[in-house]
């Protein structure tokens, strides 16, 4: 397990705070945070007895922090109902197994409450309220789970990273194939064919660019060799996509481009050698998705990336797809931990697609209008849609510990 140093010095000891046991009748549904009074403040109560409960109510206060009404629970599905009464520094609550988050609820400022469910096997867990004066309470879970076991969470993360690895491999194959085709046209005499081949080769790279960026430490900077813009490297060393783009779209001639095409093929083949069959960590996928959206916000929205062809929206589409693929690989596990957050990210990706789709243009070889036609208000809307995904996505890496 990755080291995950949460705030140290706060002993994760149990408080003897059990305030009477309640048995489970609680709903299993996750609900959005609501104001108190519009949702039940008690997760459920039922016939008492020897069995430990499947529900816990947590009151969050500025004075006492997070106080659960019971600390002994039964294995299986657990419903956690949280009410933040007046703790202004607290807006989320988590259930941890060791330092791994197995369930949580965010966006619970004072005056709001919410419910989440988590499936637990026997063992000791921690109820964690970051920012509270008393941040941690131990939960003891006993018995045998009848539902899905928590251990499957690890398997879900694992499966997601394998799935993403296959996606990267596919894109690398496509990249080698399309750049080889591009190089061939650069040796020929058909400028339009070469321009079309350039556009065809771009998306595979933009979908997985953070993979290439991660190979900057080994002496050769593959990302710079493949994708640097003119002002980022000395002119004599400028190679790759954008040097070719300048020849094709600004100079409008193929002279000298064949050599650049061959070099590009060499570099993407090298990238495939290095990156093929890599194993990834879940948090790396989350960071990679974020990195791709940063690409959009940093250099695409300004029109700097494709400054000669003005096909930036084609790159944006590819960056977004790459980010979404990385997120999709995490989704099955993440939805177990925080269905609200997962739903928020999913719907914001959808909203981002809606914005992008406005600029599709079937008549243009890139499939989108050229960036010069995107107005300032349009760019603001696109930028807002990107940051709307980035903000919740930025919280995923910390949950995707292995």
């Amino acid at each position: 397990m990755k080291s995950y140093p949460r705030r140290v010095g706060v002993a994760a000891l149990a408080l003897a705070l059990a305030q009477g046991l309640t048995a489970c009748t609680g709903s299993a549904a996750d609900t959005p945070a609501t104001e108190p009074g519009t949702a039940g403040s008690r997760a459920g109560s039922g016939p008492g007895g020897s069995s430990a409960p499947h529900a816990v109510n947590v009151m969050v206060t500025a004075d006492q922090g997070c106080v659960p009404d019971t600390t002994h629970l039964a294995a299986g599905p657990l419903t956690v109902t949280v009410t933040n009464r007046d703790a202004a520094a607290v807006s989320e609550i988590e259930v941890l197994s060791g330092e791994r988050i197995v369930g949580e609820k965010e966006n619970l400022p004072p005056g709001f409450n919410g419910t989440f469910t988590v499936s637990l096997t026997a063992g000791t867990y921690t109820l964690y309220c970051p920012g509270a004066p008393h941040e941690r309470s131990a939960l003891t879970v006993t018995g045998t789970a009848t539902g899905a076991a928590d251990s499957s969470l690890t398997a879900l993360w694992q499966r997601g990273t394998v799935q993403y690895g296959r996606y990267v491999d596919t894109q690398l194959d496509s990249l080698v194939e399309t750049t080889t085709a591009l190089a061939r046209t650069l040796h020929g005499g058909d400028l339009d064919a070469a321009r079309a081949a350039y556009l065809a080769a771009r998306p595979a790279y933009e979908k997985i660019e953070p993979v290439a960026e991660s190979f900057a430490t080994g002496g050769t900077d593959l990302d710079a060799a493949i994708d640097a813009r003119m002002d980022e490297v000395p002119a004599a060393r400028w190679t790759g996509f954008h040097a070719i783009e300048k020849g094709l779209f600004a100079d409008g001639r193929l002279t000298g481009l064949g050599r650049l095409g061959d070099g590009l093929v060499r570099d993407v083949r090298r990238l495939r050698e290095l990156a093929a069959h890599l194993r990834y960590q879940p948090f790396e996928l989350a960071n990679g998705a974020q990195e791709l959206l940063d690409e959009v916000a940093r250099s695409k929205i300004t029109g700097e990336e494709e400054r000669y062809s003005h096909t930036d929206l084609l790159d944006v589409q590819a960056n977004v797809e790459g980010a979404e693929q990385a997120f999709a690989a995490l989704q099955p596990a993440l939805v177990r931990i925080d269905p609200t957050l997962t739903g928020t990210i999913t719907s914001r990706f959808a909203a981002l697609h809606t914005v992008l789709d406005r600029y599709r243009d079937a008549r243009d070889p890139s499939g989108f209008v050229r960036f010069g036609q995107v107005t300032a208000p349009d760019k603001r809307a696109l930028s807002a849609a990107v940051t709307a995904v980035q903000e919740p996505l930025s919280r995923v890496a910390s949950k995707a510990t292995s």
Binding site: A89, F215, G218, L278, E284, E391, A397
Partner: protein, 426 residues
């Protein structure tokens, strides 16, 4: 060094994407490659450890009225208008709840949220971590467009929250006007004030976006009896007869909305009119002292009305020179704005000087007054006043209104667990 400068290094990923995997291939170790930001994140320290006791005492967030209106005006302003990007009322509720929680932390000099985890972005952006709140107030309001069909709140829009009519000489820029919500952050420390806007905009992402912002660098009004009347960028004391926040009868008579309102959620609140008023300072600076004083109706140095010797001497609007002409010009600012010539109407002004640098078209300073006026009903206070001023005020020659907005400011938060607009949105 005669060699040509190397181009700037290619920007690097600041996150650990595939750091381990790539370094493994290259035969390096990834240990210690914890990435940018971790040192910062772990150095934030526990909450509540910032130095306290700035020159200005902490201003409580909770009370019958929002702070930042009747409370003494601080030196610095950071103001923002937001537009909603959602139709989901629950999302707006949560955003306003997060804003209220953040405001309660910040006015006490504490960071937003709890302690950061190394693997997650810190909940507070951090630039104000070592700073005292310096009298920070956070004030939130709702524009007319907040009550359109998107959230289904049309029935809760107060009649007095009407779009302002056009005024003579308006040069309003849409990008500096309007907005679904507003946030006014005032502090004696500009970093503390800006920090509020930045963190509010962050927690709004996906729910609302910044429409425009305005920074102000010097208060132009006094709202207490202990402060001197400040000067505006024209060098004049303006607002000598402003309503003082401690003058409860005047606040009740002219500013606070009472039980007479058509919308009970607004009782205890008020309305804010914001106007970005650019001053043509190059022209003003070329005007003679006598004419500048004629335009205002006050002496520049002392601030006294032209009919008196001291700043607070009564303004005698009927005084005449030996030749029979009025001492205070018929179109002097002081005359047209005086309650005595406006049927007794008054407003609480709480504006700030601003500059946004150089006008790229003309090379002239883009600077002036960010006018903020609190009142009970703009339809019978700001609107008739501005209609008068816009057509007759001597000052118009030197002013351009470039931005405009109106907001309903709900009453104060009752305590922890209450949030901005709760009575409106519940």
């Amino acid at each position: 060094m005669s060699t040509a400068p190397e181009p700037a290094a290619r920007p690097r990923s600041r996150r650990r994407f595939l750091g381990g995997a790539a370094a493994g291939i290259a035969g390096l170790t990834a240990a210690g490659a914890t990435g940018f930001g971790l040192a910062d994140a772990t150095d934030l320290g526990p909450t509540g450890t910032r130095p306290r006791g700035g020159v200005r005492a902490e201003v409580p967030l909770y009370g019958p009225h929002q702070p930042g209106i009747a409370t003494p005006a601080q030196d610095r302003l950071a103001f923002a208008a937001f537009d909603l990007t959602t139709t989901d009322r629950a999302a707006v509720q949560i955003m306003l709840g997060l804003w209220a929680a953040a405001a309660q932390q910040l006015v006490r000099g504490r960071p937003v949220g709890g302690d950061p985890a190394p693997e997650a972005p810190p909940p507070d952006t951090g630039e104000a971590l070592d700073l005292a709140p310096a009298g920070l107030t956070v004030t939130v309001g709702f524009g007319p467009s907040f009550f359109d069909e998107r959230l289904g709140l049309a029935g809760r829009r107060p009649a007095a929250l009407a779009e302002l009519p056009p005024f003579a000489g308006d040069r309003l820029q849409p990008a500096r006007s309007g907005g679904d919500l507003c946030v006014q952050a005032c502090s004696d420390d500009p970093v503390v004030a800006f920090h509020v806007l930045r963190n509010f905009a962050r927690s709004a992402r996906g729910t609302a976006v910044l429409r425009w912002t305005q920074l102000g660098f010097g208060r132009t009004s006094t709202t207490s009896r202990t402060e001197d009347t400040p000067r505006n960028l024209m060098g004049f004391k303006d607002g000598t007869n402003n309503i003082r926040g401690v003058d409860a009868p005047a606040m009740d008579a002219h500013v606070w909305v009472g039980t007479e309102t058509d919308q009970p959620w607004l009782a205890g609140g008020c309305y804010l009119v914001a106007r970005r008023i650019r001053m043509l300072l190059e022209s003003w600076d070329a005007d003679s002292l006598a004419d500048q004083e004629r335009v205002f109706g006050r002496a520049k140095t002392s601030g006294a009305p032209l009919t008196g010797r001291g700043e607070f001497d009564p303004v005698r609007l009927d005084a005449r020179k030996p030749d029979g002409t009025p001492v205070i010009d018929p179109h002097a600012h002081i005359r047209l704005a005086a309650p005595a010539t406006n049927g007794g109407l008054r407003i609480l002004r709480r504006g700030y000087s601003y500059t946004d640098g150089v006008d790229p078209d003309t090379g002239l300073l883009d600077a002036g007054l960010f006018f903020l006026a609190y009142q009970q009903d703009p339809r019978r206070q700001f609107v008739p006043l501005q209609q008068r001023l816009a057509t007759r005020d001597n000052l118009n020659e030197y002013l351009r209104h470039t931005g405009s907005a109106v907001f309903a400011m709900p009453p104060g938060l009752s305590g922890p667990g209450d949030w901005f607009g709760r009575q409106l949105l519940r």
